[in-house]
């Protein structure tokens, strides 16, 4: 066959996978009910069994490049546009990095307000993912018609639950907006601290609403345990299961879960781990590049074994996000979430590897986040009027790190004498999970596609493996 290449206009979106070898390729495009832009290609062999799979991340915006030259104090409200679902995480990590560049010390109340906003944003994110994106697969069934297998179908099937969910999520968003001005793409966190103090009246109002949120979180996890997790068959529990290490942030004092600050803990698949400062992240983590994805694939460089996504013998692969955080932490500092963690751990061990457990872990974190918000709001010092120290633009380097809903988030910047960004390296939560998602896709595809038989339900199950990671 002649090897000619043609470029079609408009460009070819065929994305031939393994082009030229005549194998059948199944395209899941776009992956839906996720927050990013990607496709799955499943290549079948002549017998119709899975020969290979790929997760193609098809977008590259270039934030790390285009913040070069920008005034560093402006950057925390540029990079929040990396993600409209977790803008608070980027906003906060970026401010921490700029604090580092400028040598800023944040006053205690400024720090408390930053943490409060970050944890409040986590609450809304978890409700959004579980009920709007993931739940349709469980409430309506993996094989339900796609036209109803969505949040609108959930509204029809369980109108009271749906109304409650929509109301509570929106209330959570409005709590943030009322205090902080802008909830999607926030501006209130600033280098050196926070742009406005909290008044006592605001604290009281938020306290009252936060108590309602905790009650709702308790309802959510009970509902999910009874209506979703109790009904999972073995095949579903094992969907997308892979064996990997884990990364997350823990409090250096007692190893407890912490979204806002602490030590990074990198756990091997056997449960042994190493703690390190986020400032040293580049000594522990590397990023691998494949020709077929714009997204890079972080791996544990410190393990010295290289990178491989081979299901039987993965190398350097670790995961982040909810399940990872619950695996690496020794405990949770709030009582209700700690009780949930103990139940979870008694049943699934540590580290738990089943990908489907990301959903369960997400709801345990929802309970933690609601308890943590109440704890932060109960501290009267949060209303201290000193929330920001002035900063001075100058040359420096800073690394900011927080736990985003989708995993450990690292912003690393350098500045010049005028405080303009000269260099940036960002590792986003979901990016850590790109290699593991590739592996989960392969595992799920192997388990649901046999002898050339491809059903809509089977393909949705492959996507369900991806949705666990909430990418």
């Amino acid at each position: 066959m002649a090897q000619t290449q043609t470029i079609e206009t408009p460009a070819d979106t065929a994305f031939a996978h393994g082009a030229g070898n005549g194998k059948r390729v199944i395209n899941i495009q776009p992956i839906t009910r996720i927050e990013g832009h990607a496709r799955i290609a499943i290549q079948l062999d002549e017998a119709g069994n899975v020969a290979d799979t790929r997760l193609n991340v098809v977008a590259l915006r270039g934030f790390e490049k285009f913040i070069e030259g920008r005034p560093a104090e402006e950057v925390p409200r540029i990079v929040n546009r990396i993600c409209g679902i977790c803008p608070w995480m980027h906003h906060t990590a970026s401010n921490k990095a700029v604090d580092g560049c400028f040598g800023a010390e944040v006053p205690p109340a400024g720090k408390k307000l930053r943490e409060l906003m970050l944890v409040m944003a986590q609450i809304n994110d978890k409700i959004l993912h579980f009920f709007f994106l993931a739940a349709p697969d469980f409430v309506l069934g993996a094989g339900a018609d796609y036209a109803v297998r969505n949040v609108l179908g959930v509204v029809q099937a369980a109108p009271e639950l749906a109304a409650q969910v929509v109301k509570m999520r929106q209330a959570g968003q409005m709590m943030i907006e009322k205090f902080a001005g802008k909830v999607i793409h926030p501006v209130v966190v600033v280098p050196g601290g926070f742009a406005k103090p909290m008044t006592e009246a605001e604290r009281q109002e938020l306290l009252e609403k936060s108590r309602e949120q905790l009650e709702f979180a308790k309802f959510c996890i009970k509902w999910a345990k009874e209506n979703v997790f109790a009904n999972l068959d073995d095949a579903t529990i094992r969907l997308g299961e892979v064996t990997t290490g884990f990364l997350g942030t823990v409090d250096p004092r007692d190893g407890s879960l912490n979204f806002f600050e602490g030590m990074l803990r990198l756990m091997k698949p056997d449960g042994s781990y190493k703690d390190f400062s986020h400032v040293d992240y580049a000594d522990y983590l590397g990023e691998h590049v494949e020709d077929w994805s714009y997204s890079k694939m972080p791996y544990a460089r410190a393990w010295g074994e290289g990178f491989s996504m081979d299901l039987g013998a993965p190398k350097g692969i670790y995961r982040v996000n909810t399940l990872a955080r619950l695996n690496v932490c020794d405990k949770i500092s709030t009582p209700l979430a700690q009780a949930e963690l103990e139940e979870f751990r008694n049943r699934f061990g540590r580290p738990a590897q089943s990908t489907m457990l990301y959903h369960w872990a997400r709801l345990i974190e929802l309970v933690y986040a609601c308890e943590k918000v109440l704890e932060l709001l109960s501290d009267p010092e949060i209303t201290d009027p000193l929330v920001r120290n002035p900063v001075e633009p100058k040359a420096g380097r800073g690394v900011g790190c927080v736990e985003a809903p989708r995993g450990t988030l690292i912003h690393d910047y350098s500045t010049d004498d005028n405080g303009l960004i000269t260099r940036a390296n960002i590792i986003v939560g979901t990016t850590h999970n790109v290699a593991p998602m590739n592996m989960s896709i392969r595992q799920a595809a192997d388990s649901v596609i046999k002898n050339g038989e491809v059903s809509e339900e089977a393909l949705n199950k492959v996507e369900m493996a991806v949705r666990c990671y909430d990418p």
Binding site: A59, I85, T199, S293
Partner: protein, 314 residues
């Protein structure tokens, strides 16, 4: 009969979609009148058949009356999706400042493609150096980031990063009622209650390295204008709307932070950089006190506004 709606996101962050969800109970109220036929964030309709075996040269989006598109156009795939949406939908709504003016990701128009790739895949601190990903599976990246109307015809523009839920709600209701949406068209300053004393005193701008001067116990209407306090507030050159339709103050101002300009220019075809320089000059404020001119176009860098050879004088 419910109105059929298709929704797509291109070079975007999903913030516009979250803003739709933030309609909350209003959304639940209008839902029975809407029939979503395609919306990747919420619904599993696929481009090439539900079993992934369709014709890969024909990206299929079901027919709809209203097509909502967020995000700018950055890749060949974005371009094809935008064109397919145009073909399938009677009305195209450009949702958000990325779709109308390029948005934050249009800042990449300041840089060479090769420099981006070099930084991203070869010189970053953590990356194992590798040639640019070039597999056929990946849609090629275009020469720059485009606003939607540079590539397809747009019927309604909803500026904002993201547009306030009140504006989205008004647009939806207007479409259902078959009328033009009533969207605020003036500047952010026209919705800002802060105290302005007038021209003359300010000689240069300062960077936002310390908080504004105000009493947190008092309402916004008792705070002195942040531009007059000397901060780079883009209110005068930015389309209003972030205050919603119920008399709130602009959102950044409520955070006691200067306006960032995220709703794009006041007039659709306006230029936030030139308008701002004019405003400063006419008030005898030193334009050389700006820390970085490119940030004035950080939301509206499409339409050739931000270019490599015009890169950010400061």
């Amino acid at each position: 009969m419910p109105v059929k709606v298709a929704s797509e996101w291109l070079n975007s962050c999903s913030g516009c979609e979250v803003a739709i969800l933030n309609l909350g109970e209003t959304l639940l109220a209008v839902l029975p009148q809407l029939e979503f036929v395609h919306i990747p964030v919420l619904m599993d309709h696929k481009y090439f058949g539900q079993k992934g075996d369709g014709d890969l040269h024909h990206l299929e989006i079901p027919k709809a009356v209203v097509g909502l598109i967020s995000g700018s156009i950055r890749t060949q795939e974005h371009l094809e999706v935008a064109q397919a949406m145009r073909e399938s939908c009677d009305l195209i709504v450009a949702l958000g400042t990325c779709a109308t003016h390029g948005g934050i990701p249009s800042l990449i128009n300041l840089y060479e493609y090769g420099d981006l790739m070099e930084r991203y895949y070869r010189t970053s601190e953590t990356t194992d150096p590798h040639p640019n990903p070039g597999d056929q599976a990946l849609p090629p990246i275009l020469d720059r980031t485009y606003a939607l109307d540079e590539k397809i015809k747009v019927d309604i523009r909803l500026q904002g990063c993201p547009p306030h839920p009140d504006l989205i709600g008004e647009a939806i209701v207007a479409l259902l009622e078959g009328r033009e949406p009533k969207l605020p068209m003036r500047s952010v300053c026209d919705s800002c209650p802060t105290i302005r004393e007038g021209k003359g005193k300010l000689k240069k701008l300062q960077r936002f390295t310390h908080n504004a001067h105000y009493d947190p116990a008092k309402p916004i209407s008792e705070m002195h204008c942040l531009l007059e306090q000397g901060f780079q507030c883009l209110g005068p050159v930015t389309r209003m709307g972030c205050a919603g339709l119920n008399g709130e103050a602009p959102q950044c101002i409520r955070a006691r932070v200067p306006c960032q300009g995220c709703y794009g220019p006041v007039k659709t075809e306006g230029n936030q950089l030139l308008d701002y320089l004019n405003a400063l000059a006419s008030n005898r404020i030193d334009i050389n006190s700006l820390a970085d001119r490119a940030t004035l176009l950080e939301f509206s860098g499409a339409h050739g506004r931000l270019q490599r050879n015009k890169a950010a004088g400061r």
